[in-house]
């Protein structure tokens, strides 16, 4: 057992990560660093994935679909038992916000690294979350629940509520998240189409087609507060993250601190977030999302009762390792940090690198990562579940990596981001790297003026990459062909075997002579 765990009320020495990809890698690395045994789970397509490679132990989940594997609660519990895991970390997505899974983990005698199932349930249902926020004096967006009986025609009720809330509005799945099951309606005649799409997406993704309507606050920013709570009622916030740069409600670039948040807003929003967390007796790391209007008013959007994709920007500006803190809270260790110890050091920006073709309407791209050389500049962190040679398939989410930069000022962080993106060599699969460069350099983003509807209301022509003469590209390709670069396929990522010394990486190469 690691030293820091010895006096913990509920100590554990091993953790099973019920996830895959970059977040599983992130958590397994944290476990290793903290002296905990890290256990991975994997389905067939992940047999050779990075998260399995770096884990101390791994358990295979037979089955084809996600519901047979990464969403299979019983199977994951037995994997934990079989491998001797004492705790389960759910990561984000998959089972992380399933209240019944949190309960099942605890009922099986394992430690759940996350909040209680009651907290997940209350916050997971947007309607109950809204009610709880009203009770706790946390401002919410004007909106209405729909009393739709199953089997009845919902359109009458919907239209009446929609008229009361006013257009433009959002039809939102009560169980939704991540932009799924959420549709904007700008005029009454589109209500039916968008309602049906939202309900269908919600049913497919969450097994629950219940929706509600709320006012669409255009021209607002998405600002969220990271909270950290222990089992003894101590709660602090770790400042905000600004995730206003979104495309169809999917975050593209996140940063901390927010260019739009003053110390006063930060304090008020932070206190509201702590009230929200306390309202459900929250434990561990969680995120309270708000919409911040141009007038500086803010409204509760939802609480994510788990680690967030964009958590690294908070880690970089506060110096706090959120995953380590999650381990400590789950072991019953008190927080031991007070709010006034939380500062902001510099500025951090995260860009989500997706396998997608921006020019084809952001279609997911697939293929083999034939070359993968991440930037190695100081102040650059990359979280990824991929390596050179890995196959990108449609089996899973198309996010390849998160590139996170940290610098003394926002301007310096923007320059560092652009440099890091430009140095990232990823070949064989189409990515959004070039698009991210252009967006991060756009006037609106570099001046910190982006609102959540920015990317949806602008022509993508604005972010076209600079052109290069055909003759240059053709020469490079033809030259590479002549040099036989395609004949090194077996030795990708390794130095060419030196023909004199017979081994790679010969240190005397720099002397332009080699010694036997």
């Amino acid at each position: 057992m690691p030293d820091w765990m010895i006096n913990a009320p509920t100590p554990f020495n091993s953790v099973l990560v019920a996830n895959r990809g970059e977040i599983a890698v992130r958590i397994l690395k944290a476990a290793k660093e903290s002296g905990l045994k890290g256990i991975a789970i994997y389905s067939d397509p992940d047999k050779n994935s990075l998260h399995v490679e770096i884990a101390d132990d791994s358990v295979h989940l037979p089955g084809k679909s996600l519901s047979e594997t990464y969403l299979n609660m019983e199977l994951i519990i037995s994997a934990a038992k079989e491998s001797g895991a004492q705790a389960i970390h759910p990561g984000y997505g998959f089972l992380s916000e399933r209240a019944n899974f949190a309960k099942l983990v605890k009922d099986s005698g394992l430690i759940w690294i996350g909040p209680s199932s009651e907290a997940i349930e209350t916050m997971g249902d947007k309607i109950s979350a809204r009610r709880r926020m009203i009770e706790s004096n946390v401002p919410i967006i004007p909106g209405e629940e729909l009393a739709i009986e199953s089997g009845s025609n919902p359109l009458g009720v919907l239209a009446t509520s929609a008229a009361r809330v006013g257009y433009p509005l959002l039809v939102k799945a009560s169980a939704g998240g991540g932009g799924k099951g959420m549709r904007a309606v700008h005029e009454p005649k589109m209500l039916r189409t968008e309602y049906e799409a939202a309900a269908r997406e919600a049913s497919a993704a969450f097994g629950d087609g219940t929706v509600y309507v709320e006012r669409l606050l255009t021209g607002s920013r998405h600002v969220e507060i990271q909270v950290l709570c222990d089992q003894y009622g101590n709660s602090i916030h770790l400042n905000e993250r600004d995730c206003s740069l979104q495309r169809r409600h999917q975050k593209v670039i996140e940063e901390a601190p927010s260019p739009a948040v003053t110390p006063e807003i930060r304090n008020n929003m932070g206190q509201a977030a702590i009230r929200a967390a306390k309202a459900v007796n929250y434990e561990g790391a969680g995120t309270v999302e708000f919409l911040l209007t141009s007038k500086g008013e803010f409204f509760f959007l939802e609480m994510n009762t788990r680690l967030q994709v964009e958590h690294p920007v908070t880690e970089l500006i506060t110096g706090i390792d959120l995953v380590q803190k999650q381990f400590e809270v789950a072991a019953g260790i008190p927080l031991n940090i007070s709010q006034d110890e939380i500062g902001i050091t510099g500025h951090s920006i995260e860009a989500r690198i997706y396998a997608e073709d921006v020019s084809k309407g952001f279609l997911p791209a697939i293929g083999k990562l034939s070359m993968w050389r991440p930037p190695t500049t100081p102040g650059v962190r990359m979280d990824s579940g991929f390596r050179e040679g890995d196959e990108v398939t449609i089996d899973f989410d198309p996010m390849l990596a998160k590139l996170i930069v940290h610098a003394p000022t926002r301007e310096a962080a923007l320059r560092r981001l652009d440099t890091a993106l430009s140095e990232f060599v990823v070949l064989g699969v189409t990515t959004n790297v070039g698009f991210l460069r252009e967006v991060s350099k756009s006037e609106a983003f570099s001046n910190g003026l982006v609102t959540t509807d920015y990317l949806d209301n602008i022509s993508l022509e604005e972010f076209k990459e600079p052109e290069i003469s055909d003759s240059i590209l053709i020469s490079i390709a033809a030259g590479a062909s002549r040099f036989g670069l395609d004949r090194n396929l077996l030795s990708v990522n390794s130095e060419i075997i030196d023909e004199y010394s017979g081994h790679s990486g010969d240190p005397f190469k720099t002397l332009t002579r080699s010694y036997p």
């Binding site: 279609l363 449609i394 140095e423 070949l427 003469s469 003759s471 490079i476 062909s481 670069l485 390794s494």
Partner: protein, 166 residues
């Protein structure tokens, strides 16, 4: 060998002059015409998958990787795809009027029937891939002459979904 960019546009043939491992572009031909080009020379680098490019006197590295007939290039911070073709080969393009699946996925809804007239931009099918809905819309007005899939069926990338004629 012939070369093109993004599998579209003109085909090129390339001549280099070679001297002690240094390749210098000496001739670039497209459609029988000589194309002008900047001063560019290339040499092999120690690191695998990388070549040294000297363009108008400025040296920088290009990372290059071959995937089938595609040659992927990372150069001056940007990523490009070039294509290699057998001389005289035809482009592989889909037949006119057919609409293919932009990605693998499942058909959620078929909103048109055979024989129906559709207007440009009209939604023909709704597909689901990676848990998101994608609407397949008519690229132009016309008559639906064939619908190949039904609701619930899985489709591969590039599969023909619908035929539209004028």
């Amino acid at each position: 060998m012939e070369w093109s960019i993004d599998n579209s546009g003109p085909r090129y043939t390339v001549n280099f002059s070679e001297k002690e491992g240094l390749l210098s572009l000496s001739k670039l031909i497209s459609n029988g015409d000589e194309i002008s080009f900047p001063e560019i020379s290339l040499s092999k680098d120690q690191q695998s998958g990388r070549i040294l490019v000297e363009l108008d006197g400025v040296r920088s590295f290009a990372h290059v990787s071959r995937c089938d007939d595609e040659w992927w290039i990372h150069f001056q911070g940007r990523i490009y795809v070039t294509n290699m073709h057998e001389p005289g080969s035809k482009d592989s393009t889909l037949s006119e009027g057919s609409l293919s699946a932009p990605m693998p996925g499942t058909i959620l809804d078929v909103m048109v029937k055979k024989g129906q007239r559709v207007r440009e931009g009209q939604t023909l099918l709704v597909m689901e891939a990676m848990k998101m809905e994608h609407r397949i819309q008519a690229p132009r007005a016309g008559e639906v002459t064939e619908v190949y899939f039904q609701t619930g069926e899985r489709v591969d990338m590039g599969a023909n979904l619908v035929e539209i004629s004028d």
